[in-house]
């Protein structure tokens, strides 16, 4: 509970004694490139294979003559939009971006760069962390959309290549019984996960003490805590919104 209280105080410190809008604008754009643009390839690669594997495994399990083949595409669509794109990608995001945030801030802490900011009268938490959180909130939902599209394309390619189902069946299945609310739900989840991962990772990095070994420990803690928070939030969001 003490740690949670410290986390809440940390979040409060982000919005007081702020610098100028221009400062945050520049920093946020830099973070967007670092967080978003540099993660796109990894997200596309993982998502494409995820969609492909989901298609193959669903096709292998739906062998009943009473189940039409287009149901495979329907299953891929629902799994991708509801869970794989927002949640599994959040775990990858925590591993790539969360550990980077935590490690960066931890190194700044142990090399007294954060102290130097404080001595200059700059609110170091707001200056360093707020742009990371804002950039995450902007970029992660976009990454989730890219991921969902790639997963569906991956499923389409594998379905066509392996002959599990025809292109027509796949496209029919993707469109059949589509509920647009699931997209809204996935985007809500992505905003929540982006906030949790960026804030928890920054929190862990910002309060690092010691040396290089502790920076590594802080990064590991950031990833594990973020993933646990994401999974808990996933359960509660599904319970509340579906």
């Amino acid at each position: 509970m003490k740690g949670f209280g410290k986390y809440i105080i940390f979040l409060g410190s982000l919005v007081v004694r702020r610098e100028t809008f221009k400062t945050y604008y520049t920093l946020t754009l830099e973070e967007c490139v670092h967080i978003g643009i540099k993660s796109i390839l990894l997200f596309m690669l993982v998502s494409t294979f995820m969609g492909a594997v989901t298609t193959i495994q669903t096709a292998a399990n739906l062998v009943s003559p009473f189940v039409p083949r287009f149901v495979i595409a329907q299953v891929v669509r629902e799994m991708t939009i509801l869970e794989l794109a927002p949640t599994i990608m959040a775990i990858i995001y925590a591993g790539k971006v969360g550990s980077s945030m935590s490690g960066g801030l931890g190194t700044m802490r142990i090399t007294e760069q954060i102290d130097a900011l404080e001595v200059m009268g700059i609110n170091s938490s707001s200056y360093l962390v707020l742009p990371k959180i804002v950039a995450s909130l902007l970029m992660y939902p976009l990454l989730v959309i890219v991921s969902a599209v790639c997963a569906i394309i991956g499923g389409y390619m594998v379905g066509s290549l392996t002959g599990s189902l025809t292109s027509t069946e796949y496209i029919y299945g993707i469109r059949y019984g589509f509920n647009p609310y699931f997209i809204t739900f996935a985007l809500i989840k992505s905003f929540v996960f982006a906030f949790l991962i960026s804030s928890i990772s920054s929190f862990k990095g910002y309060y690092t003490h010691g040396g290089a070994l502790e920076v590594g420990i802080a990064s590991t803690n950031a990833v594990t805590t973020s993933i646990i928070a994401v999974l808990l939030a996933d359960y509660f969001l599904a319970y509340l919104l579906l």
């Binding site: 004694r17 090399t111 760069q113 130097a116 001595v119 009268g121 700059i122």
Partner: protein
């Protein structure tokens, strides 16, 4: 002038500073000398507010820094320069960006009047 009055600082049971008082006059060079682990850095960090002393007060030109609110502390800190033992340079920035950093952040100056870091160096 910086005045410190009865500064004490301890970490858990270990007392680092006990009842330190002194005055640092403007225009004078003051030295704090001591062997390793005697609390020189802790005293400096208490003076600039990076550590909160357990007892005692720090004054900057008669302004109570220790009990000031965050806004006031921030204002006073903008008058302070501190060189850290390890340099504490922003390693993600180059030399010019490091030199220009406080100018860009803390001063309001039109772009055409803003001096380049190289001029300062």
């Amino acid at each position: 002038m910086i005045k410190i009055n009865n500064i004490s600082k301890s970490f858990a049971d270990k007392v680092i500073l006990s009842g330190i008082s002194s005055e640092f006059d403007k225009g004078k060079t003051n030295l704090i000398i001591g062997s390793s682990g005697t609390g020189k850095s802790v005293l400096l960090k208490c003076i600039v507010g990076l550590l909160q002393p357990n007892t005692g007060v720090v004054y900057y030109d008669l302004r109570n820094f220790t009990e000031a609110d965050k806004e006031m502390k921030s204002e006073i800190r903008r008058e302070i320069g501190m060189l850290f033992q390890g340099g504490a340079l922003f390693d993600s920035k180059n030399v010019e960006e490091n030199v220009m950093f406080p100018l860009n952040i803390l001063t309001i100056m039109p772009e055409d009047e803003k001096l380049t870091g190289l001029t300062f160096v």
